[in-house]
């Protein structure tokens, strides 16, 4: 009794959210500007818990933003810049219409611009925050740096992206922080560990893009605008941590006369020369102060890890590579330099090559063609996958599998970490064995297996032949001879499997116990509540599906493309 009647949707969650259109009206921005603002400020929609309540009883699909977020946008100085720009465009159009060319020039000179520094600072209050979020920025900048001048975006953006990516690559080379690389069908994935953060980026293969029509480049450009700012600041800071001068001199090479790859290459080689001038990198030893909370084992593990990392950093040190003309020069040069190798290429292709093919000290030549006419004896001719696989394996893999014209072993993703019950490809097992240092044993075993397999095959063939030739008296003796031989070799005494329930009371008991347990479980499942039963069924369904997938991978038909590994696969099946 008494009091004012409470109106619906005037408190609670209905007031916490605002629809996109209302937000736009509140900010007095066009949709495009609003979108830009959201991208720059990192504002994203929110899904209310009770949509109908928030939507004032309607169930129409709407995008909701948090009201707080929109209020936060209200005080953004960039909004004023957006409005100024709108006015500028209007004035400019007018001046054009009136053909006031001096006016146009004056207006152009005073074109309002904005900076995103404060937004970056606001979004990422600490450097580590920014570094954590750089994956997308890297991928985007690498993509934009491969664009040609097609009018899809400003030329300045492209040059800026090129400059920043080159700077980044230089940093990675100098700090030797590259960890993993992966050749996928999309492009090349790189993973670097920078200040303890794992940063992954994807670089497309060097091809001209055919620009899709159903992609809004304005959105991409806005993202790139933000990313380049962020990326530049991060680069600055990273260079600072290495005591390097920013911007580095290499960026002077950048102009649009060269192709993108050429620039990057030249920049890379130049940077190596320049690094010498700066302060020598200190070998930062791990401090050996056993803190109270840490146990000795933990310390040791960390020490070991550190050692491994150091070893990986020097993976290709002392090797001299020469890149043939058909291999992706930029990525290979980048990777090889990251691990301390010397790289060169044909000078006629691209600037930056430091030595010729004829150099006798070259240890490896990377070739991606079936055969070479002229080969030097004192160097390995290997396919590019060797470099990638070696980096991922953190060791120089045996080069035999990667020689010219050989069928390459499968290239595995270094990002997959198998858990218990997951499918592990046989190649990975082999690699793990190699890493553990079981190389010779493993190979011998494999060979044995192969031999056995072959023998088995022989025997089978003999058996096949058997039926036909039984009638032929002439070959009988010979045949018997071979069979006897085969038997002496192939017959193996395998320990028979003991079925537990057949052996007597002990096995019986075990089996009975198991059955009892299973039945108990089944009966208990009967007593589950409906909700829990549903959840349980769902979980079990998921588990079954994963096991099914694994088993299907395991039972995948052996393909003729993997002859050397067949026995391996067979054993697994």
């Amino acid at each position: 009794m008494g009091g004012l009647q409470k109106k619906k949707y005037e408190r609670g969650s209905a007031t916490n959210y605002i629809t996109r259109n209302k937000a736009r009206k509140k900010l007095q921005l066009s949709l495009a500007d609003f979108r830009r603002l959201c991208i720059l400020k990192g504002i994203y929609p929110h899904e209310p818990k009770h949509k109908k309540k928030v939507n004032k009883g309607s169930t129409a699909p709407r995008t909701f933003y948090l009201f707080k977020d929109i209020r936060f946008l209200l005080h953004e100085p960039i909004v004023r810049k957006f409005r100024e720009y709108k006015v500028f465009v209007r004035k400019l159009r007018k001046a054009y219409g009136k053909a006031e060319w001096t006016g146009v020039e004056r207006l152009r000179d005073n074109k309002p611009g904005y900076k995103l520094d404060h937004i970056i600072k606001e979004r990422y209050p600490t450097f580590i925050d920014a570094l954590r979020d750089i994956d997308d920025a890297l991928s985007m900048c690498f993509l934009f740096s491969t664009f040609a001048r097609t009018g899809k975006c400003h030329v300045q953006t492209i040059t800026l992206c090129r400059r920043l990516t080159v700077e980044w690559m230089n940093y990675v080379v100098t700090s030797r922080s590259l960890r993993k690389v992966f050749l996928s069908i999309k492009g090349i994935y790189y993973q670097a560990e920078v200040l303890g953060q794992l940063i992954t980026w994807l670089v497309p293969y060097q091809f001209a893009h055919d620009h899709p029509t159903d992609v809004d480049y304005r959105v991409m450009a806005t993202f790139t605008e933000m990313y380049t700012t962020l990326f530049g600041f991060i680069n600055f800071r990273l260079y600072q941590t290495l005591n390097l001068v920013y911007p580095p001199k290499v960026t002077q090479y950048l102009d649009l006369t060269f192709s993108c790859a050429q620039q990057k290459l030249s920049a890379l080689s130049a940077s190596l020369a320049r690094v010498v001038a700066t302060a020598e990198e200190e070998e930062n030893q791990l401090d050996l102060f056993p803190t109270e909370g840490e146990d000795q084992e933990n310390m040791q593990a960390r020490e070991k890890e550190q050692k491994e990392q150091e070893a990986q950093k020097r993976l290709f040190e002392g090797l001299k590579f020469f890149l043939n003309r058909e291999v992706p020069r930029e990525s290979l040069a980048f990777i090889l330099r990251c691990f301390g190798a010397e790289v060169s290429w044909d000078k006629s292709l691209c600037i930056g090559g430091t030595y010729e093919v004829t150099d006798e000290t070259i240890t490896h030549q990377i070739v991606d063609r079936p055969d070479m006419d002229k080969q030097y004896i004192n160097r390995y001719y290997i396919q590019p996958q060797w470099v990638f696989d070696s980096v991922n394996a953190q060791m120089r893999l045996p080069v035999e599998d990667y020689f010219l014209g050989t069928t390459l072993p499968p290239h595995l993703s270094p990002f997959v970490e198998e858990k218990d019950g997951d499918y592990v490809p046989p190649e990975k097992l082999k690699l793990m064995a190699l890493q553990r240092g079981e190389k010779p044993v493993q190979e011998d075993e494999e060979e044995e297996d192969e031999e056995e397999e072959e023998e088995d095959d022989d025997e089978e063939e003999d058996d096949d032949v058997d039926d036909e030739e039984l009638t032929e008296e002439k070959n009988l003796k010979k045949l018997e001879g071979t069979r006897a031989q085969g038997k002496t070799l192939a017959v193996k005494v395998t320990p028979g499997k003991v079925k537990p329930w057949e052996t007597g009371s002990v096995g019986n008991k075990v089996r009975l116990e198991q059955e009892e347990k299973a039945e108990e479980k089944r009966l208990a499942i009967m007593m589950m509540k409906k909700k829990e039963k549903y959840l349980y069924d769902k979980i079990m369904f998921g588990k079954k599906r994963t096991t099914r997938e694994v088993s299907s991978l395991r039972c995948a038909p052996a393909k003729p493309t993997r002859p050397s590994l067949r026995p391996f696969a067979c054993r697994w099946r």
Binding site: D135, M140, P204, V215, I539, K559
Partner: protein, 632 residues
């Protein structure tokens, strides 16, 4: 025409004289006798006789000047054009000037030439200001010069196009970390590629032909992999990925358009979801194995009942027979033919009486199987013959008939002929009262209670409360349970009132059993559920079990042991431990202990009835596969 006539030589005055009507369309005067007014204001009348078409034609044919004759509408007279006028018309038609004497091509005279003349055009002397510098300009310039000198104006710097970077995080301010940042949900990173994305994946990751077809036919959202795994023999052969820009763009869209949420993924161990129940081993005894199969019936066995001593078993079947079995041996002691499919059998629970109620079609038959103790058998016969008909014969709903002769020898004792088909018979615990169910949706005559000793029948209900499925007597107190399709009503027989209405939450009750303690009840339903009611607790089910896959047909409690069983169309009998405590605060404990299988499913029917042995932890079940099975 008017234009031309105006130019005709007769001076304008004469025209005024002739007709002063003015410049109006002459059609206005069509219906009038006059065509205008002269100078004096008098009407000018039309000529008496106007030319008609024929005159026109004749004129055209005869008059050589017809082509140069023009009709003047103003004066309604014909005018013959002169030669000059004809010439003028011709010239105008050709687009020439009307004036013959006008020369179109006269030599042009330039008024302003491009030649610079030495003398001014005007004689006005030049202003002084054109010789001396402007004062205003001087003032302006001096101001600018002063401003430049003072450093107020600086030359325009070329704009910085390259962005300037500096150490943005030089002073990391912990206060700058706002609540926003704590609440911020960082976008999840891009998924890292697996082996299948490799340019040279292991062969088992490649799709087979069928998988590839399936992949191609699926919608882009349904696909498990957004791309087709491909194998290239060398790096040189790897083409550009056509959807690269698309994927990056989609990532951008995800970043600014997707609502983000922190999802607490609870890692539920499925084993934890399974309720912790006492082990069945600890709840023994209960039936575990099938030990006997009673064969003999030729059609499905609808009902079974065990004798109170536990020595005999009676079964009724659709092959129109009732069979009596010895429980321990499985031997069929007796077979009685009755005149219809037996719907229900019930052994009198009183051990001092040997009587079996059998119902088929409209009849309830009370049999004395003559099994077991002779004394009991003869005392039963005496009990029945000792009946004395009352003084006044009341009209009853059922006719009671005593069997004699051949039927008596077969064991028939009393025949109760009902007005409708009977579905179920139930004895009261004392063995004197008997209830029969005649399901009928439209009348109140659905349940009858008979008293055997007095051969009396009464209809306890005045109103029809729905289709009665089954009824039951309370084992101790004078209560009567009636199960309709969805509810179980509990009536007090002494007070003659409804005491409780139990909501079963089932669609259609099939069977019901009362706990020997009388405070608990189970209901089986055709929608695969078994509801346990604690009558002290609530009118809603205390527990709902959905352990059968198909419709339940029969449920039963054990008389002594805390056991109950349910039989269903899936061919299984599930025995559960159902402990009821004397302590009112402790709820019953229900644990399924055994799933008994043995019955074959025939015509989608499995187990039709279950009943417990009265003393042993054994359960009988009858099935549609014409057998009765004993599980011990």
């Amino acid at each position: 025409m008017t234009l031309i006539t105006q130019e005709i030589p007769p001076p304008p005055h004469s025209e005024d004289i002739r007709n002063t009507v003015g410049n109006v369309p002459m059609e206005w005067y069509q219906d009038y006798p006059h065509i205008g007014y002269n100078l004096d204001g008098k009407k000018i009348f039309k000529p008496i006789r106007n030319k008609d078409e024929l005159d026109e034609f004749l004129d055209k044919m005869e008059n050589p000047d017809y082509w140069r004759t023009v009709h003047d509408k103003m004066t309604a007279s014909d005018i013959r054009l002169t030669d000059e006028q004809v010439d003028l018309v011709h010239r105008l038609q050709k687009g020439q000037f009307g004036d013959v004497n006008f020369n179109e091509y006269e030599p042009s005279v330039d008024f302003f030439t491009n030649e610079v003349m030495i003398h001014p055009v005007t004689n006005r002397p030049q202003d002084k200001r054109s010789f001396i510098p402007s004062l205003i300009e001087k003032e302006k310039v001096s101001k600018l010069v002063h401003a430049i000198k003072m450093g107020w104006i600086k030359p325009r710097k070329p704009k910085e196009t390259t962005p300037q970077y500096y150490d943005l995080w030089a002073k990391e301010d912990p206060n700058a970390i706002l609540g926003r940042h704590k609440m911020h949900v960082p976008a999840p990173k891009m998924r890292l590629p697996g082996h299948e994305e490799s340019y040279n994946p292991p062969p088992e990751y490649l799709l087979t032909e069928e998988e590839r077809l399936v992949w191609e036919q699926q919608d882009a959202e349904d696909r498990k992999l957004p791309f087709l795994p491909q194998k290239h023999s060398c790096l040189r052969a790897v083409p550009a990925f056509s959807r690269f820009i698309h994927e990056r763009f989609e990532r951008c869209l995800d970043l600014y358009l997707c609502p983000r949420q922190r999802k607490m993924r609870v890692n539920v161990n499925p084993e934890d979801l399974i309720p912790k129940l006492p082990k069945p081993k600890d709840l023994q005894p209960f039936p575990t194995t099938m030990s006997l199969v009673y064969r003999g019936h030729t059609s499905l066995v609808r009902c079974i009942s065990a004798s109170p001593t536990g020595q005999w078993l009676v079964s009724g079947s659709d092959d129109f027979t009732v069979r009596f079995w010895e429980v321990n041996t499985g031997r069929c002691m007796k077979t009685l033919e009755v005149g219809g499919a037996v719907k229900s059998v019930a052994w009198n629970p009183n051990p001092a009486v040997c009587l079996v109620a059998v119902c088929f079609e409209h009849t309830v038959l009370l049999l004395n199987p003559s099994l077991g103790d002779r004394l009991v058998v003869s005392s039963t016969d005496q009990l029945i013959t000792a009946y004395e008909p009352p003084e006044e014969d009341k009209e009853q709903a059922v006719t009671w008939a005593l069997s004699e002769g051949l039927e008596h020898n077969k064991g028939h004792r009393l025949t109760l002929t009902h007005p409708k088909a009977v579905k179920q018979v139930v004895w009261h615990g004392k063995g004197d009262y008997l209830s029969s169910v005649m399901p009928d949706n439209s009348s109140n005559l659905q349940v009858l209670i008979h008293q055997v000793s007095k051969r009396r029948t009464q209809n306890p209900f005045r109103k029809n409360k729905g289709l009665v499925q089954c009824v039951s007597f309370h084992p101790l107190r004078p209560y009567f349970f009636v199960a309709t399709q969805r509810y179980v009503r509990v009536y007090n027989l002494i007070k003659q009132e409804l005491t409780k209405k139990l909501m079963t939450n089932c669609k259609w009750i099939s069977s019901m059993a009362i706990h020997p303690g009388g405070d608990n009840l189970i209901c089986g339903s055709y929608d695969c559920r078994l509801a346990w009611f604690d009558l002290d607790l609530s009118t809603k089910p205390y527990k709902m079990l959905r352990h059968h896959k198909k419709a339940l047909r029969g449920v039963a409690y054990h008389r002594n042991y805390p056991l109950f069983a349910s039989g269903a169309d899936d061919g299984s009998v599930i025995v559960c431990h159902g402990m009821v405590y004397n302590d009112l605060l402790q709820n019953p404990l229900i644990v399924p202990v055994k799933v008994l299988k043995g019955h074959q499913i025939t015509h989608d029917l499995g187990v039709l009835d279950v009943t417990f042995h009265p003393t042993q932890p054994w359960v009988f079940s009858s099935g549609a596969d014409t057998t009765i099975r004993l599980f011990t």
